[in-house]
């Protein structure tokens, strides 16, 4: 049986750092409120025209170098903040990385984008469509958030993480899978950017872009019901994937969860019965980086020398859609550049 194996990993954060204190100077909030509510101290933000493609290229370069590869068969970019509404970020990123005219596309699944990307890449490898895939989670989502809305302006951060996946077998260190994926579109309004897509354009056809309220260009979030859904779905999805893998929860060495809010991660860990020291957290320094959060967290763990070859990893994510996904993998013992 052929599966995807993690062969390389890289991450990159834009240099501009914005602390809670910086935000408190322009918003009615405080460092204490942000930290206790979300676990975030600071986050990175793009500026001066830097955008998602730039982040994706930096992370991609590092993952390729880590894998010792100069070519892949497919580039998959998981993002909610592509350079433009059209085209996808993938082809441009592949071109900038000098990878030639290989297959390249985007996955639009918000915070669960990386998990959906992992499952997709695994499918390509298992079916022989590709031997090597570069999967990048890249976000400049702070550009999609209303800087005057304290409930969303404090939460998100920009960055990108990437993995190179190669053909391998299930027992190898680095093997990825099984997976659990799901969605609930009946709650699509809980987390959405109303304007720019076909729904708004069709409704306001002929009226001009000026007819669209300014706030519709930004993210709208209903935090409380989302919190409840996130904890419920991530817990159930994690349980399902652990059962599929035949892993008792005590076997999980690292819970590498999407970092939407530290309290969601802790609540899920508690529901699953995971010990505190198995729960990886880096939201304090990067905020919620959507599709980039899991590879960035993994890169962080690797950089801190916190991973041993063969370590058992549990990934889980939840986000807009609503959508969610979980997967297990083992750490291949590769080195980052």
């Amino acid at each position: 049986m052929t599966t995807a194996v993690i062969a390389g990993l890289g991450g990159w954060l834009p240099p501009k750092t914005v602390t809670n204190h910086d935000l408190s100077a322009v918003l009615d909030t405080s460092d204490e409120w942000i930290r206790t509510r979300t676990g975030i101290r600071e986050r990175r933000m793009v500026s001066d025209g830097m955008s998602t493609g730039d982040l994706a290229v930096e992370a991609g370069l590092r993952a390729l170098k880590s894998a010792g590869e100069t070519s892949v068969d497919v580039v998959v970019v998981a993002t909610t903040s592509a350079e433009r509404l059209c085209p996808a970020a993938g082809p441009e990123v592949a071109a900038r990385l000098g990878l030639g005219d290989i297959a390249a596309f985007d996955i639009a699944s918000a915070c669960s984008g990386f998990l959906y990307g992992l499952a997709t890449a695994s499918g390509f490898i298992a079916s022989g469509v590709a031997e090597r895939v570069l999967l990048i989670g890249a976000e400049a989502f702070t550009t999609m958030v209303n800087p005057a809305d304290r409930t969303t302006a404090t939460i998100f951060g920009d960055g990108a993480g990437a993995v190179v996946l190669r053909r391998g077998t299930p027992g190898e260190p680095g093997a990825v899978g099984p997976f659990d994926l799901g969605s609930d579109g009946s709650l699509s309004d809980l987390l959405a950017i109303p304007a720019g897509g076909s729904r708004q354009r069709s409704a306001s056809a002929g009226l001009g872009h000026g007819a669209v309220p300014a706030e519709d260009w930004y993210l709208r979030m209903q935090g409380r019901p989302l919190y409840r859904e996130a904890v419920t779905r991530m817990t159930a999805s994690s349980r399902a994937v652990l059962k599929r893998a035949g892993w008792p929860v005590g076997d999980v060495d690292h819970f590498v969860a999407h970092q939407a809010n530290a309290r969601i991660v802790r609540a899920v860990a508690e529901e699953l019965g995971l010990a505190d020291d198995r729960v990886a957290v880096n939201i304090d320094s990067v905020g919620n980086t959507l599709s980039a959060s899991i590879p960035l967290l993994l890169a962080d763990l690797a950089a801190r020398d916190g991973l041993r070859r063969g370590d058992r990893l549990l990934f889980s994510a939840f986000g807009a859609g609503l959508s969610w996904g979980s997967a297990v993998a083992t750490w291949p013992g590769i080195h980052l550049t």
Partner: protein, 76 residues
């Protein structure tokens, strides 16, 4: 019921048990809106009674929570 609820709050949030009275509001106890959801979850786990997140948000103080839980418990 008040004692049971106060015990859950003290245990879950590290609040000083002695400081929790029937008049204590969420603000008094420094519990934000996410903590209200966390409390509903803890109450369901420890006391086996389910209170909706929207209802919990309306509760004026710990006394009101205890009274509502007794109501719900009686209809089971």
């Amino acid at each position: 019921m008040f004692d049971s609820v106060a015990d859950v709050i003290a245990a879950r949030f590290g609040v000083d048990r002695a400081s929790i009275t029937a008049d204590s509001s969420f603000d008094d106890l420094d519990l934000d809106s996410l903590a209200q959801i966390e409390l509903a979850t803890a109450i369901k786990k420890k006391l086996g009674i389910e209170i909706a997140d929207e209802e919990m948000a309306e509760m004026k103080n710990v006394g009101a929570i205890a009274a509502r839980l007794e109501e719900i418990g009686q209809t089971l």
